[in-house]
């Protein structure tokens, strides 16, 4: 993966919020220290030791003899492709799944009974922060932290002693070094404070100098700025003596912040406890895939001279009066910080969001972007396809099959009024399964049972099968594994080669630099930079965070220190 994604905000060029301290300095300083601590303690006792844990579902063995050791005070990374068994392992550690007989899970030298009993795990200091953080939005911070631990006070009233609970929560935040108002509603909090709440909940039962928190892709929904703060908090956890197991798809994040890393592939440990000083993202990718890698760089533009798409006077959110032309086969990226308008523009052009004004001309057909619509039918008829970001909420129905999902936009136009017809559906599905290498290649499989990467492929296939003239994509490779990302990038290129205009809204500078002929950078509703030619992700990141005078970002210096 070549580390092409933007670095975590506070250390990438200039942070959007200068409030955050130069996190990496601290992290790296801590890292060097903690590794030595870990090594010193490693000879003694592991915080968590997983030995020969296997899991079989029916005839499918999804985990095979997993072995893993985490030292006290260590930040350990766990990586692997979608479907490699990471989630299953977490579910075993949290007691949701019962492992096959023969495995052991040991915390601080004490073996836990298997299946893991949640209360015993809690007593041992084992806790998990899930990807969506698991917070109840309309309750307060202290209620969220104490949820499941409330003590009934008073002999008869058995009420919750709000004062004591609040004090307990405030103490946890103090230990964590986070400044969060315990009476605030969680829905009112910023992303990093929400993360702090989740972490506080996870660490409140830790004994001083003990405990283990598993972060299961917790940074996935976080903006870049929030991530920087998040790792500050994780550092706070480590400083309290706890260990952390961090599961992530963001390989550069793993390489930068963790001490050691374990790689899973097809339910097996490929290698465990690799010091991240000794490996880079390409190396991790190689281990995850277990296949040879070739370089995957920019290819020539497929842009043709004719204009495919015209957007005129688009007014949406903070964007006022945007004009945008797209040539046939041209791939244009839209990027910017949260609230910059890049996402709103893509959604408006894709028909998913109602704009206040504007027109879209595709292939000579002009659509108004303004009126509220019951559906995107007009857009689809005009040849517009919109690949939404949240695939299971906006893109696909998990309870229906691959075929049904894939053909949905066309059942009316390709099918008869009284009969959808079978053969075209089968053909379309087979073609997309082949083109995108969807696994398993079963057209009747329910979409909800596929892995994330394959779901994303089905979603892309759903729209590519309609041979659109304008393809609008929102974060097309978010949270997919490396193999799926490759297939998706290839498919987007192929669509462009066929003359489709492509608009990609993304904060992933790696994707943009590899795919786009042109990148528009948004800031507060205006296009502040238009990058063309040979794009590098550094250019994109710099333009996104603006202030191009600051060429010597702290990041590079830090890297020098680290390596």
């Amino acid at each position: 993966m070549g580390g092409l994604r933007p670095p975590i905000a506070p250390y990438g060029g200039t942070p959007p919020k200068s409030a955050a301290p130069p996190t990496l300095w601290l992290l790296l300083g801590r890292k060097l220290v903690s590794v030595s601590q870990a090594e010193a303690a490693g000879a003694g006792q592991d915080r968590l030791a997983v030995g020969s844990v296997s899991k079989t579902f029916g005839s499918a063995r999804v985990l095979r003899e997993i072995g893993l050791r985490i030292a006290p005070g260590e930040l350990h990374g766990l990586v692997g492709q979608n479907g490699c068994g990471k989630s299953t392992l977490v579910k075993i550690l949290t007691g949701i799944y019962t492992p096959d007989p023969g495995g052991t899970v040991t915390v601080d030298g004490r073996a836990l009974a298997l299946p893991v009993r949640p209360l015993e795990a809690r007593a041992a200091g084992l806790s998990v922060v899930h990807q969506n953080l698991g917070l109840v939005d309309d309750r307060t911070v202290w209620e969220n932290v104490r949820l499941g631990r409330f003590k009934a006070a008073g002999r008869l009233t058995r009420r919750i002693d709000g004062k004591a609970e609040r004090a307990a929560v405030a103490a946890v935040f103090a230990r964590l070094g986070a400044n969060v108002d315990v009476n605030e509603k969680v829905s009112e909090l910023s992303a990093e404070d929400r993360a702090a709440v989740a972490i506080a909940r996870a660490m409140q039962d830790h004994e001083p100098g003990g405990g283990l928190i598993i972060f299961d892709e917790s940074t996935r929904a976080m903006g870049k700025a929030a991530r920087g703060r998040f790792f500050d908090l994780v550092k706070g956890v480590i400083d309290n003596g706890a260990s952390v197991l961090m599961i992530s798809h963001q390989l550069e994040e793993v390489v930068e912040v963790t001490d050691r890393v374990t790689v899973l592939r097809d339910g097996q440990v490929v290698e465990t406890g690799i010091p991240t000083k000794e490996i880079d993202e390409a190396g991790l990718t190689r281990l995850m895939l277990g296949r040879h890698l070739v370089t995957h760089s920019r290819v020539d533009s497929h842009a043709q001279p004719e204009t495919a798409v015209q957007v005129r006077n688009l007014v949406v959110r903070s964007v006022r009066g945007l004009d945008l032309d797209l040539k046939k086969g041209e791939i244009v990226g839209l990027t910017g910080l949260v609230g910059s308008g890049a996402v709103a523009v893509a959604e408006a052009i894709g028909g998913a969001r109602e704009a206040r004004a504007g027109t879209l001309t595709v292939n000579g057909k002009t659509l108004s972007l303004k009126p509220k619509r019951g559906s995107t039918e007009d857009f689809i008829k005009a040849g517009v396809a919109f690949v939404a970001e949240r695939r299971l909420e906006q893109g696909l129905a998990g309870e229906l099959s691959v075929t049904q999902n894939l053909t949905l936009p066309r059942v009316k136009t390709r099918g008869g009024r009284f009969r959808i017809g079978h053969s075209w559906q089968a053909d379309e599905t087979a073609a997309m399964i082949k083109k995108l290498d969807i696994k398993p290649p079963d057209p009747h499989k329910l979409v909800g049972t596929l892995s994330g990467g394959n779901q994303q492929k089905v979603l892309l296939g759903k729209w590519l099968a309609g041979q659109p003239d304008l393809l609008v994509l929102h974060e097309p490779t978010q949270a997919v594994d490396v193999g799926a990302r490759h297939d998706i990038i290839e498919a987007i290129r192929e669509a462009a080669a066929d003359g489709c205009g492509v608009l990609i809204s993304s904060v992933d500078a790696a994707d943009l630099s590899v795919l786009c002929d042109r990148v528009l950078v948004f800031r507060e509703g205006k296009v502040t930079a238009e990058l063309t030619g040979d794009l590098t992700q550094d250019d994109i990141i710099h333009a996104t965070f603006e202030q191009p005078s600051d060429q010597q970002g702290p990041e590079r210096n830090l890297k020098g220190v680290a390596r």
Partner: protein
Amino acid sequence: MDTARNQPDVAVAAPQAEPPASATAGTTRKGRFAGRQLAPRFAILVVWAAMIGVYWGTEPVLFPHTGTFQTIFGSQQPLVFMTMALMCTIIVGEFVDLSVPAVFGFGATILPVLVVNHGWNVWPAAIVAVLGCVVVGAINGFLVVKVGVNTIVVTLGMSTLLMGISLWMSDLNTISGMPNGFQKIALFDIGGLPISFYYGVVLVLGFGYLLAFTPLGRHMRFVGASREVSRLSGVRVDRIRFGSFVFASLLSGIGAVIAVAAIGGYNATTSDTYLLPVFAAVFLSTAIFEPGRFNPLGTLIGIYFLETGILGLQLLGLQSWVSQVFYGGILVIAVTISTLLHRRAT
């Protein structure tokens, strides 16, 4: 990250040894899956057969009789129409249209009141009854879909309101005395069963076809699965939801007219006794044929399954409370089973 600038992205080439094992694993899993799925799919038919066997054995005189057969299959037409009406809204994701029996009762009261009390000709009266139901459906649809009021609140309120109006119209009496010829549209005998049985079968098959094979049916399924996904895929979500409410009432209205023809009149107080059977049969369908999914054919089987059970128990001498125990029990058991099946499948 100096190196990142020049370091191109990496990708996959030459899949080294893509294990062919995964392919075989896939097929065996599928084979096992099919076997595991087949049993629950038809389990209810086995239970049904076993039930008939037991009744046959314990009541060898009364049970194996054409009269029993005719009662089971000839009397359930109102339920068939009402379950299909409920199915319309359930498929598009509105789980609790509690007003179905009340709408049915509303139509079934208007018709005899107009004909018997007001001396209308039966056909215009039938049309008014059906239209009345459709108007109610449109109001439900408007409130739920356009205004966004909670479905339970709207339909519970509407249900009670309609029940009250029906009782007022009929003055709490059974209204009978429909003209004789009108009976023919429901009771015309074909092969020992009244024609209304065949209406039900045709309706169910038609609805099943609609769902399985037409673009509209596919759209309905998707609206039920996810409104946002449907909207972004060009499905006119609100139109389909509104249409479902209207069409549901239309089915209730037509069912009411046929029921009045079969019975020769109507007593408005009987409407609410249909509520539980309707829900029981529809939810029972999630345990038949397509586990975890509402389906019309399963509902039809469910209706006759339930009726067989109750009739048999009554023949054995148990009182009418048996139907409540049976319907209520089956509803809970069926939904539990289908939930478990669904969980296992996903």
